[in-house]
Amino acid sequence: MNLINSPHTNGGESQTVISVRSLGVCFKARLGLFRKARPFWALRQVTFDVLAGETFGIIGPNGAGKSTLLRVMAGIRRPTEGSVESNGYDVTLLALQAGFLPYLSGRANVILNGILLGATRRQMVDRMDEVVDFAGLRDFIDWPLWSYSSGMRARLGFSTAYHVDPEVMLIDETLAAGDAEFSRKSAKAIRQRLRSDKTVVLVSHHLESIRSLCQRALWLENGRIRAVGPSSQVVEAYQNSSQKPKHLAVVKV
């Protein structure tokens, strides 16, 4: 294993927000009464810390286990072995448009999606004007969602998730959403938040985003850690790797 830094290194200064220890996640397909399920380890022996206030990147090829790792960190999936400790922090995976229902109004969907992402109904009602203005859907917010274009839905989904504002954000390839103009706006907003003191874990195929936005990064491959440490070094190691699939460098977020 090409381990650049110890996963436990935090410089002795910052507080650990999430600590992942010897994490393993195993999938088993249900095959019936008489056929034994063949286990598949999506993650194995994964150990690292996320520190308070940092933006932590996760890179790796498709099928490396990045999304599974985020889900376990968010408490959506349980680890088969090992542990994930969030030390009392509210950790939320920003799932855009989660639970959106086509026959409800945009306004009702903002509240529903906000509650699913960890806010209370009261908080979402209070933030409604900001959500609607950011999404640019003031004239359509009381229309049923089925009448929205996919771009309008994407804008509403991003704006809702952005305004939920949890203590620790887990982001899976969602730096931008909607049409070109909204895409720039949303990417700018999320970059501003990433540069603040917010603790963020960011999964992206866009290596430049990881290099420029993250202090540290983790390279995952076949469910195992290949490297963890300063983002520039991890990205460089990943790019130099002979196993790196060629299309990754051109995927834009």
């Binding site: 249900r30 680890p79 969030s86 229902l101 026959y103 509240i111 529903l112 509650i115």
Partner: protein, 269 residues
């Protein structure tokens, strides 16, 4: 091997805060369920009354006109039984599938899985209460439910609500592990329908099996509703207290199962 999962330990510590958010979610999803149902049809909320009315018409034709199953006031007898049964059956069947139906959502966000069966129970309860109000008007028009015995209705509704919640949560908690149980459940409910005195009096059941029929909590509650609404006498509170206690135990056991396997459900196929 460490089996501890910190995020969930934290979720449990959050206690009331998390419960509060989940209640927001339950209420919002109930609203969404009812609003969505109306939005998908032309007759909208009228279906809450029309659909049971059509079901009653069907059962009345079969059991009263064709099979000649009679009681003191057949129409009222049938209406009370069928409406109560439909509340029970719709909640249990919808609830049994509720967790697995939200598999995609469960893989996106962290949410208590109790939200889904509770939404099924509460949506069906709202529908039932609307129809039940219509039933009460119908009963007054037929000269029933006018005695002080009708004061027992809130207690009976609470007891049946507890029975429904217990059965729905239990079905919802177990079915995801063994999806085959849906078929079993379907047939158990069909059997229960016939042995709960929904369409004919329990007295019609042969003597050796009659006492067995009264061990069925649904039969006890439906009988109690008829005592109060039609016969106009006080129900058998002793039996009902037993049913209520049993239901609360079922709710607690099912809630414990769902809480224990909360993070396992998203992984099931």
């Amino acid at each position: 091997m460490v089996r501890e999962f910190g995020v969930w330990a934290q979720a449990r510590r959050e206690g009331f805060a998390l419960a509060g958010r989940n209640w927001d979610l339950v209420l919002y999803r109930v609203y969404a369920d009812l609003a969505g149902e109306a939005a998908r049809t032309y007759a909208r909320h009228l279906w809450w009354v029309l659909e049971p009315a059509l079901a009653i018409l069907t059962y009345y034709s079969v059991f009263h006109l064709i099979l000649s199953v009679r009681s003191s006031d057949s129409v009222v007898f049938l209406v009370v039984g069928i409406l109560l049964w439909r509340w029970f059956q719709a909640s249990v069947m919808q609830g049994a599938n509720s967790i697995m139906a939200e598999r995609a959502l469960m893989q996106q966000v962290r949410v208590s899985k109790l939200v889904f069966p509770l939404t099924a129970v509460l949506s069906n309860t709202v529908r039932f209460l609307v129809v039940f109000s219509v039933l009460l008007v119908f009963l007054w028009w037929r000269g029933h439910a006018t005695s002080p015995h009708a004061l027992a209705l809130p207690a009976l509704l609470l007891i049946l609500f507890a029975v429904i919640t217990g059965c729905t949560l239990m079905a919802a908690s177990v079915v995801p592990f063994v999806p085959d149980l849906r078929t079993v459940l379907d047939n158990v409910l069909r059997l229960l329908f016939f042995v709960s005195g929904v369409v004919f009096p329990l007295q019609n059941i042969p003597a050796p099996y009659q006492s067995l029929a009264y061990l069925n909590p649904i039969a006890v509650v439906i009988d109690a509703f008829r005592d109060v609404l039609i016969v106009e006498k006080w129900p058998q509170w002793g039996w009902l207290a037993g049913v209520f206690a049993l239901s609360l135990a079922l709710v607690a056991a099912a809630a414990a199962i769902v809480a224990r396997y909360d993070d396992v459900y998203p992984e099931l196929e």
